[in-house]
């Protein structure tokens, strides 16, 4: 069982998206994802100023078991990567929706709306069909 906060949006590759109110968004990986990966021992976040395309891998989360790419859900400019994670990658496991955020992005015009993000209920549905 994993936690799926109702106020966030989700992607089919297990990222969550939080609107920050000023047009920018915060992105991380879901509770399901952090459970599946296990204890993270390394996180690589993108550098500020980088432009990313929709679907472009822009961060990496690495545990003993697996290394996974994290994808930009839409075209955007990177505002910041979470600086805490290079020293404390386990923050993602402990607080995947809070202090364990991965990056903050400014979506390109119209990109957020066009991204087709899932609601919490839809993501929950996805997890059930995947058996997660």
């Amino acid at each position: 069982m994993s936690n799926v906060p109702a106020d966030l949006k989700y992607t089919s590759s297990h990222e969550w998206v939080r609107a920050l109110g000023d047009g920018s968004v915060e992105i991380g990986i879901t509770d399901h994802a952090q459970q599946a990966l296990g204890d993270l021992e390394f996180v690589e976040v993108p550098e500020a100023g980088r432009a990313v395309q929709a679907g472009e891998p822009c961060a990496v989360v690495e545990s003993v078991k697996a290394a996974s790419d994290v994808y930009a859900p839409f075209a955007a400019e990177v505002i910041a990567g979470n600086p805490r994670l290079s020293a404390e990658p386990e923050t993602v496991n402990a607080q995947p929706y809070g202090e364990g955020w991965l990056m903050r992005l400014r979506p390109a015009a119209g990109a957020l709306a066009a991204a087709g993000l899932m609601s919490a209920a839809q993501y929950q549905q996805l997890l059930e069909t995947e058996g997660g």
């Binding site: 204890d39 021992e41 390394f42």
Partner: protein, 492 residues
């Protein structure tokens, strides 16, 4: 098992050394022409230890290992069969060891004869048209195979063919290799029977298909029964078939990849042909090709002209995918494989698959009788099979990993765990043909005892191993607090 052994640097004392091994000191003047700014200022910080200390240290370390020479090692997909001592002894004859790789062919006809005959025997046993011995490992053989497929399509002007189809049960190196060759991976599902989903395959092939990478028997330990149909579908779409030879031990002398329709194969000489695993290498990943791919073989290849042997290089094979090693690959490993194949001969080669399959099916039957669950109970085992411990994990909270660790206490190296990823809590078990029935029975007994422990005293299993030089190691700590080189005052 001996107790914990210090790191060699901890034995180091200034001024110690195996001085009998050193050349005489040279006059300082001999080095005078080396410019000062290109010289080291301090000697390298290598350990200073005497010869007996060194011998003791490394001998004691060897005693901390499991090995085929000491333990049953049923690692699925690894083919841990006996490494005959004769192979080592004759591959290490002084003339073979002393020969420089660039020595003239006139001074290497004996070696070249062995390598040429090895090529021919591998061709015969796999049903292929040509063989190259240069790739130095299975992964390099895979790379050569996919690179040849790409080169073939490019040579015909089919530059859009860049998709490699891979079954979802495939080993991780397959997609990595495809990507390394600039290809895109398309995964197709496998049916619950273990065979590739033909409908999905038909949907996946098209004008962009470069080829498909398959193992047969598959990574699920079962024979791909409709392989001829698979080959037809891929060939009709213009793609080629690549055979991952990891499981060749199951069909040696029974079926040949060339006859199944494969265009290119790689063989793991360190698995099927019993060259030593050596604690992680060296391997040799010889490749075999059908006629279409002959021009693209990696160089060098051994050629014969009448009674003389010689190296075929770029000028002989202008369309070759190129050179993969500085010289000609792992000659010493190839000699060992050659000797092994000569010892087996025609008759022995046929026995390999027969007895490997007999042993696997017997072990599967006995384990099922003992209450363990086969992943594909309706199928014959090939040379290996999968047991799933998902029930134990669910009901007793004892996992495949726990069983694997407890087996060490019983004197058995664990089977492969958690591969293939498709089967939860799995053990992939490959006994090989060189194990006796007594050994297999002892393994079943150990597994049954561990099962009983799991039911009555699960802590004993989940905290195993208890009798090894170390208990379970903290992998997470190893990755988070990287300690990759020894430092004098470091505490772990």
């Amino acid at each position: 098992m001996s107790s914990h052994e210090q790191v060699i640097f901890e034995y180091s004392r200034a001024g110690r050394g195996a001085s009998d091994q050193w050349p005489q000191a040279s006059a300082a003047a001999a080095l005078a022409d080396l410019p000062a700014q290109l010289r080291r200022t301090q000697p390298p910080a290598l350990p200073e230890v005497g010869e007996l200390e060194t011998v003791r240290h490394f001998t004691r370390l060897s005693q901390l290992n499991f090995s085929i020479d000491t333990h049953f090692y049923p690692l699925g997909s690894c083919t841990m069969k006996y490494n005959p001592k004769a192979c080592n002894q004759y591959a290490m004859l002084p003339e073979f060891l002393a020969r420089h790789p660039l020595a003239p062919e006139s001074h290497g006809q004996g070696l070249l004869a062995c390598l040429y005959e090895l090529q021919e025997m591998l061709r015969e046993v796999t049903g292929m048209a040509g063989v190259a011995l240069a790739p130095m490992a299975g992964a390099q053989g895979e790379f050569a195979g996919v690179a040849m497929i790409r080169a073939y399509h490019r040579a015909r002007g089919d530059t859009q063919r860049n998709e490699i189809i891979v079954p979802e049960a495939a080993h991780g190196t397959n997609p990595a290799t495809a990507t390394m060759c600039g290809c895109v991976v398309r995964e197709i599902p496998v049916e619950s029977s273990g065979d590739v989903d033909l409908e999905a395959l038909r949907g996946a092939v098209g004008p962009n298909t470069a080829g498909i990478m398959l193992t047969n028997p598959s990574t699920l330990g079962v024979f791909e029964r409709r392989i001829v149909e698979v080959a037809r579908i891929v060939h009709e779409a213009g793609g080629l078939l690549y055979y991952d030879g990891a499981n060749l031990n199951a069909i040696l002398g029974k079926v040949r990849p060339g006859d199944m329709g494969f265009d290119v194969i790689h063989m793991n000489l360190h698995k099927t042909f019993s060259t030593p695993h050596g604690g992680g290498g060296p391997g040799a990943g010889a490749v075999g090709v059908g006629a279409r791919l002959m021009p693209f073989l990696p160089i060098p290849v051994v050629g014969r002209e009448g009674e003389r042997y010689r190296w075929l290089t770029e000028s002989d094979l202008p369309q070759s995918i190129g050179r993969l090693s500085a010289f000609m690959g792992n000659a010493g490993v190839l000699l060992r494989a050659y000797i092994y194949m000569r010892l087996l001969g025609r008759e022995g080669m046929r026995q390999v698959a027969e007895y490997a399959t007999l042993n696997a099916n017997y072990l599967l039957a006995r384990l099922r009788q003992a209450g363990f669950e086969a992943a594909y109970p309706q199928r014959r085992a090939s040379h290996e099979f999968i047991v799933t411990l998902k029930r134990q994990a669910r009901e007793l909270n004892v996992t495949a990993m726990d069983f694997a660790k407890r087996l060490l206490d019983y004197g058995f190296h664990a089977p492969t765990t958690y591969f293939p990823l498709l089967v939860p809590e799995c053990l992939l078990i490959e006994p090989t043909e060189t194990e006796s029935r007594d050994t297999l029975d002892a393994f079943v007994t150990a597994m049954s005892q561990i099962q009983q422990e799991a039911e009555r005293e699960p802590g004993r299993v989940t905290s195993a191993p208890h009798t090894m030089p170390v208990r379970r190691l903290d992998d997470v700590r190893a990755a988070r607090q990287l300690d990759l080189t020894w430092k004098p005052t470091a505490q772990p």
